[in-house]
């Protein structure tokens, strides 16, 4: 019962903070903070409890009948992969609430309602093992996110929100067709309607059908990730969203795409996977280089960070399709550390915008003089983003490159070039904003205790993953191994 209560806490908390906000906006903020923290505590509890046990397929599971005519069950289950991403979700959730504490002043209640409901949708996505339920939560993330961008966003918020919604909706519907078709094929071969993940794993498909269905899933996840040609919604949405929205988008929503690839595409379609893997890896490398090069050219701070996300997600895509355990583990570590480092960069951008009222890099410069602490934090996260050893992102990228080198050395070399470009944009950001003379004569307050707490915690996590990634790797390993085994079993044998 602990899994539905994770979702219910957020849903109820969201409604409560909406109602309370009429009386006092601060109470709404506290309610939101407490409900996310309760979830974080529950997840930490599960994590600590399972640490000593021998891993089963699912750590926690719950299963109710819902629409029996189609074999749809409200089936939630988590393994190490889901658990890690849930921990990330609530960690960033707390950060998102804290970072919007002073930024959001209008319609506070409805804001936190939407924020918590997005988190609820993300929670559901990470837990659902019934494909119908998965789709349900997949779509459920959209509407509150749309409102977050569309109501509290910046100048071109309507355009960005609509574009985001349309992209994800079209790709989502294609996935729905694929899900339904998969269930129908299963029905035709076995006579049983079911949307259950583990039963559908054993559906026998003709190669052509498998390829088409895989494309249906792939498009949805590639848009969310986003992979190279489908990324155009991302810079707009990330730039226009309020800080909390950017944090949730970059830190969590993108991860749902990668999670979907690992959880569903890899094990469901082992056959076409082998054909498409080189293509997808190439797309990943293109994303790495393209995102990095575009990031170098940006003048808008949030846009710059957004393009770095495209680049980093290229690494994730590369790792997922590289076809070996190391790269896959690297991809997941990259997901977690990218969530934290990019989330922190967006929070930082929010702090700067709150103080400077601009996101233009050309308006900044020499901020170290007036805000040494904030600038120092900025430098740390910029270094994390460019993959400095000792910080989380490095571990992920290194593992991905290591694994990729085994399966495709040429692509690994090209991907490494992306790190070079990353150095450029990382230094450009750090230098342009913080170093040099204070040409605009800014006199600004430095970080407040609340902001210290947020960025400090994120820094600690990054250093932890960078220096001692073992707990994360240990947690995700069994779940990934299960996905990996089905997907690349033949290849493993060959090697």
């Amino acid at each position: 019962m602990i899994l539905p209560s994770l979702i219910m806490t957020l849903i109820v908390g969201g409604i409560a903070s909406w109602i309370v906000a009429r009386r006092s906006p601060d109470a709404a903020r506290w309610i939101a903070l407490v409900s996310v923290m309760v979830d974080l505590a529950m997840c930490l509890g599960i994590w600590i409890m399972q640490a000593g046990r021998t891993p089963e397929r699912w750590l926690v599971e719950c299963n109710f009948s819902w629409i029996p005519q189609f074999g749809i069950r409200f089936h939630l289950a988590i393994d190490g992969l889901s658990l890690t991403l849930l921990l990330l979700t609530y960690f960033l959730g707390v950060m998102a609430v804290l970072s919007s504490w002073s930024e959001i002043r209008e319609k506070v209640g409805f804001f936190h309602f939407n924020l918590l409901w997005v988190l609820a949708g993300i929670t559901g996505v990470f837990m659902a093992v019934d494909l119908f339920v998965f789709y349900l939560f997949w779509e459920l993330m959209l509407v509150p996110m749309y409102f977050l961008i569309g109501i509290w966003g910046h100048e071109r918020r309507i355009y960005a929100a609509t574009k985001f919604f349309l992209f994800t909706q079209l790709s989502g519907l294609l996935m729905l067709i694929a899900i339904v078709a998969l269930a129908v094929f299963h029905h035709q071969s076995t006579g049983v309607y079911t949307f259950d993940y583990q039963q559908l794993l054993h559906t026998s498909l003709s190669p052509r059908a498998a390829r088409l269905l895989m494309i249906g899933f792939l498009v949805a996840f590639a848009v969310k990730l986003p992979a190279f040609p489908f990324h155009t919604w991302l810079p707009d949405a990330h730039t226009e969203a309020p800080t909390a929205g950017s944090v949730v988008l970059a830190g969590l929503l993108l991860k749902t795409g990668a999670y979907g690839l690992i959880r569903f595409v890899l094990p469901l379609f082992p056959g076409p996977l082998r054909e498409l893997a080189p293509l997808m890896m190439t797309v990943g490398v293109i994303g790495i280089l393209y995102g990095a090069v575009l990031a170098v050219g940006q003048t808008d701070l949030k846009r710059l960070v957004a393009y770095t996300s495209v680049s980093h997600m290229g690494f994730v895509l590369l790792g997922i399709f590289a076809g070996n355990q190391i790269a896959l583990e690297g991809a997941v570590v990259q997901m977690v550390s990218h969530g934290i480092s990019t989330g922190a960069l967006f929070i930082l951008a929010g702090l700067l915008q709150e103080r400077l009222h601009t996101r233009e890099l050309s308006q900044m410069g020499g901020l170290w003089e007036t805000m040494p602490a904030l600038s120092g934090a900025g430098l740390v996260f910029a270094m994390a983003s460019l993959g400095l050893p000792g910080l989380g992102d490095f571990v992920g990228e290194f593992l991905v490159l290591l694994g990729t080198y085994r399966s495709n050395a040429r692509l690994a070399i090209f991907a490494t070039l992306g790190l070079l470009a990353a150095t450029l944009y990382g230094l450009r950001f750090a230098q342009g904003a913080f170093q040099g003379p204070n040409r605009h004569h800014w006199k600004l307050p430095d970080m407040r205790p609340r902001e210290w707490a947020v960025l400090g915690l994120m820094m600690i996590c990054l250093v932890w993953i960078g220096l001692y990634p073992h707990p994360v790797l240990h947690t995700i390993r069994p779940g990934l191994a299960a996905a990996q085994q089905i997907a690349f079993s033949q290849e493993m044998v060959r090697r």
């Binding site: 629409i67 029996p68 005519q69 189609f70 319609k107 119908f132 789709y135 349900l136 779509e139 459920l140 959209l142 509407v143 749309y146 409102f147 569309g150 109501i151 309507i158 929100a161 609509t162 919604f165 349309l166 909706q169 079209l170 519907l173 294609l174 729905l176 067709i177 339904v180 078709a181 269930a183 129908v184 029905h187």
Partner: protein
């Protein structure tokens, strides 16, 4: 006619008797509330008689009407829809100083017509029901006589509906001359004749009949009247056209064109597929540039009829239940949408321009939340009725491998999402200059409409979350089709 036949006819007779009773009561003394109460009681009695009537079903009464569980299911749907039309109409008419009582009379008659359509098994009863429905609608559309758009819409509908009836009659004549039979069941034979080619006369007759049916359903290319009539008609009447009128006609189409086993093939399958694809795309594309919410919903209704046709064409064991479920979800949603618009309308204007919704969420959060629910359901977002309906349609289509139709559905409903979002954007945007708001904001929310709206919002979520009991009923009722 035996005793059991009478029992089976109870629902129809009660509604017609209520109309007569209402006419008498108007003749004695005009009173808006009395008229509303009489009609509501009559419709409630008809609903209450359905269980008794279905206890003697299935039953073929006099060669004109077939009364089985399918007919009764659709009668229930139509009657419930008309209850909501009454509730919204009551408030609407209360604000407008017009002759109010005849509205109920006409709606009762039109509902009777739609119910006859759902139960008809013969050309004659088909035409009878159709004309009863159409003639009442002519008057209903032009009900607000002080408004020029209403008159214009009424005339438009009159001319087009009359000519489509003529086309329909001609189709009947052609079929009759070839087959010598007036039974609607021959449609099933013509459409499902696999391989052997039907005669040209039969096929032409069938196409002409489809023209008449397509006109009432407002599918492309027979949709031209829809936006104008939706815009010109008073809001409750628009809701009535969108629900009862289309629902009755769709019941007939689904019953007699529903293919057994395999999906629709041959000429009729091709034609219906083209109609479905054209409706989905045209409806959604034309809605993109509208700025009048009534017109947007008109075009969206064209697209929704296209989605319905997908399930109909797919057929199989899932087709008819999926289509019925989708129709119910759509009716609940669109009633809610028009209901919201009714509650927001003033005494001299209707809340139909997009601007009248500007910032609605910030001064009337609950009404805006209800409208949001309806729009999201129309767009097919999960947890709402519209999503499950779409899911069932997709499943029925996938079961019969109708991939082209399904892809069109997906692409066009994404296009559709765009204009639903446009309305949402306006509703959640910054409030406009306070002139219109003061007007809309000071209007008290009328009790019956508020209740109806709350019920409909609840139904949208219920149908979206817990479809099991209803789905079982629908599957049971549609099992004997064909």
């Amino acid at each position: 006619m035996s005793h059991a036949d009478f029992v089976a006819l109870f629902p129809l007779m009660i509604v017609s008797a209520t109309a007569v009773l209402l006419m008498l009561s108007i003749a004695i003394r005009r009173n808006h509330r009395t008229a509303a109460v009489i009609s509501l009681i009559g419709v409630a009695a008809a609903l209450g008689s359905l269980p008794f009537a279905s206890s003697v079903a299935p039953r073929q009464v006099t060669g004109f009407l077939i009364l089985d569980s399918y007919s009764f299911l659709y009668m229930a749907i139509l009657l419930i829809a008309s209850v909501f039309v009454f509730l919204f109409g009551y408030d609407y008419l209360n604000r407008r100083q017009e002759h109010r009582e005849e509205f109920y009379l006409l709606v009762l008659l039109a509902t009777t017509g739609a119910m006859v359509l759902a139960a008809s098994s013969n050309f004659a009863s088909f035409f009878l029901g159709l004309e009863l429905l159409s003639v009442s609608l002519y008057a209903l559309i032009a009900y607000i006589r002080t408004e020029r758009v209403a008159i214009e819409a009424g005339i438009k509908y009159l001319v087009l509906a009359a000519s489509s009836s003529a086309v329909l009659l001609f189709g009947f004549a052609l079929i009759y001359s070839e087959s010598g039979s007036m039974k609607l069941s021959q449609f099933t034979a013509i459409t499902s004749s696999t391989g052997q080619t039907s005669s040209v006369l039969l096929l032409t007759g069938l196409m002409l009949t489809l023209t008449g049916i397509g006109f009432k359903l407002a599918v492309v290319p027979f949709h031209l009247w829809t936006p104008d009539v939706y815009e010109g008609a008073p809001l409750p009447v628009t809701a009535f056209i969108a629900t009862v009128s289309k629902g009755g006609m769709f019941a007939l189409l689904l019953r007699w064109f529903h293919p057994q086993g395999e999906g629709l093939a041959g000429a009729s399958g091709l034609v219906l597929s083209i109609i479905a694809i054209a409706s989905m795309l045209t409806g959604n594309l034309l809605a993109l540039r509208q700025t009048n919410v009534k017109r947007i919903l008109a075009y969206s209704s064209i697209a929704h009829m296209g989605y319905l046709l997908v399930a109909l064409i797919a057929g199989g064991t899932l087709g008819a239940p999926a289509a019925t479920y989708y129709l119910m979800a759509y009716l609940v949603t669109i009633l809610g949408a028009f209901g919201t618009m009714t509650t927001l309308s003033g005494s001299r204007w209707e809340a139909s321009s997009l601007d009248s919704y500007r910032g609605l969420f910030w001064h009337r959060p609950l009404v805006a939340a209800a409208f949001t629910t309806m729009l999201l359901s129309l767009a097919g977002i999960p947890l709402t009725a519209g999503f499950l309906g779409k899911f069932y349609v997709l499943t029925s289509g996938a079961a019969q491998s109708r991939w082209v139709l399904l892809l069109t559905l997906v692409v066009s409903s994404t296009i559709g999402l765009f204009y639903y979002l446009r309305i949402l954007v306006v509703m959640y945007g910054r409030p406009a200059e306070p002139v219109t708001i003061a007007d809309a904001g000071t209007l008290p929310l009328p009790l019956p409409a508020t209740l109806a709206l709350a019920v409909l919002t609840g139904l949208v979520f219920l149908l979206g979350l817990y479809p099991t009991p209803l789905w079982n009923v629908i599957v049971e009722a549609t099992r004997g089709l064909g």
